[in-house]
Amino acid sequence: MPEPDDPPLLEAITGATCRALLQAERVLPDDVINAIRRARQAETTPIAREQLDRILENITLARESSVPLCQDTGVPVIYLTLPADVPFTRGILDALADGVRRATGAVPLRPNIVDPLTRENTLDNTGPGMPAVHVRPGEYLEITVLPKGAGAENLSRIGMLLPAETDRIEAFVAETMLIAGSRPCPPVVLGVGIGSTFDGAAALAKEALLLPIDTMNPFEEQLCGAVNRLGIGPMGLGGKVTALAVKVKKAHCHTATLPVAVNVQCWACRRATVRVEYRS
């Protein structure tokens, strides 16, 4: 069992965070690439096909040249699982931030993180409350990164629906995409959080983006169908595929509430997981 804040453990966490960002920024997961290829097959107009052809060409170029897929290397969101023998400490949070700083030079990441009011840039993609870290217990020490681009993040939305409005969830999700329109770089992935609390629904929506998008349950299929019937299409230029997938996560909520959050994700659904081997 490692001592709390054991230096080799912290270094392993920093290194793994940097490696996860290197992977996520340059190589899209197979389920996402396959979904984009399926979208290319589904589209019938030259303009929609051309957008997806360029996206697929860009995915190959980024991987082969070892450069980021998008100049917006995103805001660093990290999901950490800790096994029972690793205590959660301030030192671990610092090690994750160090991993983001290291990745800023190594990937390279664009310096994106600023004070919300002065807009002063920290230049290293960290700052108070950044990276955003979510911790849960797990069998292994694993670091999952979800570098989230701002164009799509800006179109995300939460609604405190009435408890009787479960039949309006589909309309809320479709409306969120209607408002977003061409702006979030469609075809998008929509993470939908239903239940919990005001803040909890938003967290669920983001976690839903970690789920593989090659399968959807019937409810997710229903929501995805509703979004795709809008016809916004690749890059908002019209087409059959506006959403590659809709993924839903639920939690129980107060009897008087129905929180519904939609986290909009561009086609570059970047995520990567690295397991930290720390047991000697």
Partner: protein, 191 residues
């Protein structure tokens, strides 16, 4: 058709949906650079200029990745830029009705596929930088384009691909759910 900056009246003959390539010098600008232009003036010759809505990754004087950012954030500046003689705005996602109006008879909006950053960068060479104090994402980078493929999103006659798609999407939404906003009603105090 290949166009080269500085641009002139040839942009007035373009139609929404047309594919072109663009060569010559362009200038990146995002939120902070646009805001500063309004108070300090445009830091380059705007006559016939093309502005690229982008915050590239630049590493050792090389453009690594430079896809477009969301253009509609910059709607409020389109009239000011057209008044100054700018002829083309390049970005993603299209622009709002005020920009479509401001472009009429003066300039065009050119759409680049969002997120395709290394692909766009493969058509670019870095020439310089202005207002570098704004930081990598917000500085005005001076870039030489070599036949960057673009689609005319908004032409100088009110033709706009994005608003046509949006109007159809809004009609389909209203057909399915009615025109009311489904969300954001305050259900009153919970017990």
């Amino acid at each position: 058709m290949n166009l080269t900056t500085p641009l002139g009246d040839e942009v007035l003959r373009l139609s929404a949906g047309e594919r072109i390539t663009l060569s010559g010098t362009v200038y990146t600008a995002r939120d902070r650079a646009h805001a500063r232009m309004c108070t300090q003036g445009i830091p380059f010759n705007p006559q016939g200029a093309a502005i690229y809505h982008s915050g590239p990754i630049v590493c050792a004087d090389r453009i690594v990745a430079a896809g477009p950012t969301t253009s509609s954030r910059l709607d409020r500046y389109t009239g000011f830029l057209m008044d100054a003689g700018v002829r083309a705005l390049i970005g993603k996602g299209g622009m709002g009705a005020s920009s479509v109006a401001a472009l009429q008879g003066r300039g065009v909006y050119l759409a680049c596929p969002g997120g395709c950053a290394p692909l766009a960068a493969s058509h670019m060479a870095l020439e310089g930088v202005l207002w570098e104090d704004l930081g990598m994402a917000e500085a005005v980078w001076v870039i030489r384009l070599d036949r960057l493929p673009l689609i005319v999103g908004t032409d100088a006659h009110g033709g706009d691909l994005f608003s046509a798609v949006h109007a159809e999407a809004a009609r389909r939404y209203a057909d399915a759910y009615g025109s009311g906003i489904a969300s954001c009603r305050n259900p009153g105090p919970a017990d």
